[in-house]
C-alpha cells in the first residue's frame, strides 16, 4: 500500500524528467526498473525464496536510481546499477525490510566509483529533437566507452541551457545560477533532481497521507540551510547562498525520497532529527570543502551507516541505566 503510493508520488517527477530530457530519460527509467525487478526475481528463484517482486519495492528502487543518473547515461551502465542496487544493496541483507543502506544509492555509489566520467556527463535540458532522437551516449554498447558529447551539445542546445549542472558551474567556475529556474527545474542535472517545486509537491502528498516521516526532510533541509548560511555569511564571495544550496542538485530528491527509507533510518524521534541534521551537514561540507560538486548521495549513505548507532544512543534508557540516573538525582 505504502509502496504503491510512493510509486504514484514518483510518477510526476518521472514524467517531468521525460518532458525535460526526452526519450533517453524514458529509456533510462525503463532499463533501471527492468534491471531491478529482474535481479530481485532471479535472486528469489536461485535462493529458493518466495517471490517478492510484487511488493513494488524493486520498482521504486529502479525509479529512484534512474532519477539520480544523468539523462544520457548509457543504458548498460544503468542496468549494472540496478543489479548492484538490488543485489548488493537489498537482497544480500535478506531483502525488503532488512536493507542497511538505501538500495538505489548503493547502486548509484557503485556507478559513481566505477564510471566517474560517464556519470558526470550531463546534457542540456529541453534539447531540440529530444523526443525523436536518443542522446548518443544512451545507446552505448555494453562494456564500451560512451562518446564525448561536446559537439552534440553544441548542436542541440537551446539558448542558455548548457550541459554543465548548476552545481558544477558553481563549484569550479564560481558561476551562480538564479534560484527561480532551479526551483522550477529547467536546468541540466540528473534526470529527476532538477525541479525542487515538483519534488516538494510530491513529497507533500506522501507526508499528507502519512506514508513518510516529515521530520527527516525537515531536519535535513533545515540543517543544510543553516550550515550553508553560516558559510555564506562568513564568506559571501566564496560560497553560494543558502537558497541555491537547497534547490540545486539532488538535495531535495534525496531528502524527500531517499533519506526517508524507513528501514535505513532511525526510529526514535530524537534520532530522526539527529539523522536528518547530520545528513544536511555532511551534504554542505562535501559540496563546499570536498572534491566533488555534489555530496547528497554520500551524506545519505553515511547517515544510513550511523543510523543504527543513532538508534542505540537515543533509545529510551533501559531499566538499569535509569536507576543509576535516579540515584544520582
Amino acid at each position: 500500500m505504502i509502496m504503491r503510493n510512493v510509486v504514484y508520488a514518483l510518477l510526476p517527477i518521472c514524467a517531468f524528467s521525460v518532458w525535460l530530457f526526452g526519450i533517453s530519460a524514458l529509456a533510462s527509467l525503463a532499463a533501471a526498473v527492468a534491471s531491478c525487478v529482474l535481479t530481485e526475481h532471479l535472486i528469489c528463484r536461485i535462493g529458493g525464496r518466495p517471490a517478492t517482486v510484487g511488493d513494488f519495492s524493486a520498482v521504486i528502487t529502479g525509479l529512484l536510481l534512474a532519477l539520480t543518473l544523468p539523462p544520457g547515461f548509457p543504458l548498460w551502465m544503468t542496468a549494472v546499477g540496478g543489479l548492484i542496487a538490488v543485489g548488493l544493496g537489498k537482497m544480500l541483507f535478506g531483502g525488503l525490510g532488512f536493507n542497511v543502506f538505501n538500495p538505489a544509492l548503493v547502486g548509484r555509489a557503485f556507478l559513481q566509483a566505477a564510471f566517474p566520467i560517464a556519470i558526470t556527463a550531463y546534457t542540456p535540458a529541453m534539447a531540440v529533437n529530444r523526443f525523436l532522437e536518443f542522446i548518443p551516449t544512451t545507446l552505448t554498447l555494453p562494456f564500451a566507452q560512451p562518446l564525448v558529447l561536446t559537439e552534440w551539445i553544441q548542436r542541440v542546445r537551446v539558448d542558455a541551457f548548457s550541459g554543465a549542472t548548476p552545481l558544477t558551474m558553481q563549484k569550479f567556475d564560481h558561476a551562480a545560477t538564479d534560484v527561480m529556474p532551479l526551483f522550477l527545474g529547467k536546468t541540466a542535472g540528473s534526470a529527476g533532481e532538477t525541479s525542487a517545486l515538483l519534488i516538494l509537491l510530491c513529497g507533500a502528498y506522501l507526508i499528507a497521507r502519512k506514508f513518510m516521516d516529515w521530520r527527516i526532510p525537515a531536519a535535513m533541509l533545515s540543517s543544510a540551510f543553516v550550515v550553508s548560511a553560516a558559510f555564506y555569511l562568513a564568506a559571501p564571495a566564496q560560497y553560494p547562498n543558502p537558497l541555491f544550496v537547497l534547490f540545486s542538485g539532488g538535495l531535495m530528491l534525496g531528502a524527500m525520497f531517499m533519506a526517508t527509507d524507513m528501514v535505513a533510518s532511525p526510529v526514535t524521534p530524537l534520532g530522526v532529527w539527529i539523522y536528518g541534521g547530520l545528513m544536511g551537514l555532511i551534504t554542505v561540507i562535501i559540496r563546499f570543502l570536498g572534491g566533488l560538486p555534489e555530496g547528497v548521495m554520500y551524506a545519505i549513505l553515511l547517515g544510513n551507516a550511523v543510523s543504527p548507532m543513532i538508534d542505540n544512543l537515543t533509545q529510551p534508557r533501559i531499566y538499569g541505566a535509569r536507576k543509576k540516573e535516579a540515584a544520582k538525582a
Binding site: 566517474p116 566520467i117 558526470t120 569550479f172 572534491g291
Partner: protein, 236 residues
C-alpha cells in the same frame, strides 16, 4: 589473528629438565638468534646498498633525460636553507635539489626541479624542466600520483594539458626575487596568458594541484637558480 596470540597453550610437552633450565640458557638462545639475525640483516643491507643507489640514479637520470632532450651530462645541486647551492655526490639530500643538464659540448640545456602539492587523493609529485635562457618551463612529468584512474590521472597523459608545459612563462620580476606572474590554473579552454595552465575538464582538482605545485616551486627556486646561474652554467 586472535589465534596467534591466544593459541600458545603449550602443545609441545617439555620434559621437566627443560622447564627447570635457568634463564641463562634463555638469554644465550636469544643472544645467538639475535646475532644470526643481525648478521643476516647487515649482510643484506651492505650488499644491496650499491644496487639500490644505482637504481635510484638510473630512474632520476632517465627522467632528466626525458625532460631535457639531448642531455649528455648531469650535475645535481642541493639548495641549502641559506639559498646557497652545492654539488651533491648522491641523491640523498633532504632539501630542494636542482638537476642541471648539459649537452655534448657542455652547454647548459636547462635545470630540472621538483614540485609537489596535495591533489584529490594524495600528494602529487612532479618534475619540470626550466630553461634559464627562455625563462620558461619547457618540460613536465608526473613522477608520483594516486589520483583516480581515468579521471585525475589524466594529468599524466592528456595531450592538451601537457602542451601547457612546453613553453610556460615563468620569467622573474624586476628585482629577481620571485616570478613575475604566478602560475595559475584556469578553466579548460580559457587560457589567455602564457603563464596560465589550461585545466583538464573533469579533472579540475588535479590540474589545480599541478598549477599550485609549480607556482610554489618556481617562486621559491627560480630566483636561486638565476642567482647561481654562472656557476650552474660551468657545472661546478
Amino acid at each position: 589473528m586472535s589465534a596467534t596470540t591466544q593459541s600458545p597453550q603449550a602443545r609441545t610437552p617439555k620434559p621437566p629438565a627443560a622447564e627447570a633450565a635457568s634463564s641463562v640458557k634463555m638469554i644465550r638462545l636469544m643472544g645467538s638468534v639475535s646475532l644470526i639475525c643481525g648478521l643476516l640483516i647487515v649482510t643484506t643491507y651492505r650488499s644491496t646498498l650499491v644496487p639500490i643507489q644505482r637504481n635510484q640514479e638510473i630512474i632520476m637520470k632517465e627522467t632528466v633525460a626525458e625532460l631535457l632532450p639531448g642531455v649528455e651530462k648531469q650535475v645535481i645541486y642541493g639548495v641549502q636553507p641559506s639559498g646557497e647551492i652545492s654539488v651533491l655526490k648522491s641523491l640523498d639530500y633532504t632539501g630542494p635539489r636542482l638537476f642541471a643538464g648539459y649537452n655534448g659540448s657542455g652547454a647548459l640545456l636547462g635545470v630540472v626541479l621538483e614540485a609537489s602539492d596535495r591533489g584529490y587523493a594524495d600528494v602529487i609529485r612532479t618534475m619540470y624542466a626550466y630553461s634559464p635562457a627562455k625563462q620558461a618551463i619547457t618540460g613536465f612529468k608526473v613522477v608520483e600520483l594516486k589520483e583516480t584512474p581515468g579521471l585525475g590521472d589524466k594529468i599524466t597523459s592528456d595531450p592538451t594539458f601537457l602542451a601547457n608545459f612546453q613553453n610556460l612563462d615563468v620569467r622573474l620580476n624586476a628585482d629577481k626575487t620571485s616570478t613575475a606572474h604566478p602560475v595559475t590554473t584556469v578553466k579548460h579552454g580559457t587560457k589567455k596568458n602564457p603563464w596560465e595552465v589550461d585545466a583538464i575538464s573533469g579533472a579540475t582538482i588535479s590540474s589545480r594541484a599541478v598549477g599550485r605545485a609549480l607556482d610554489k616551486s618556481t617562486r621559491d627556486l627560480l630566483p636561486i637558480v638565476n642567482r647561481n646561474l654562472s656557476r650552474i652554467e660551468k657545472g661546478e
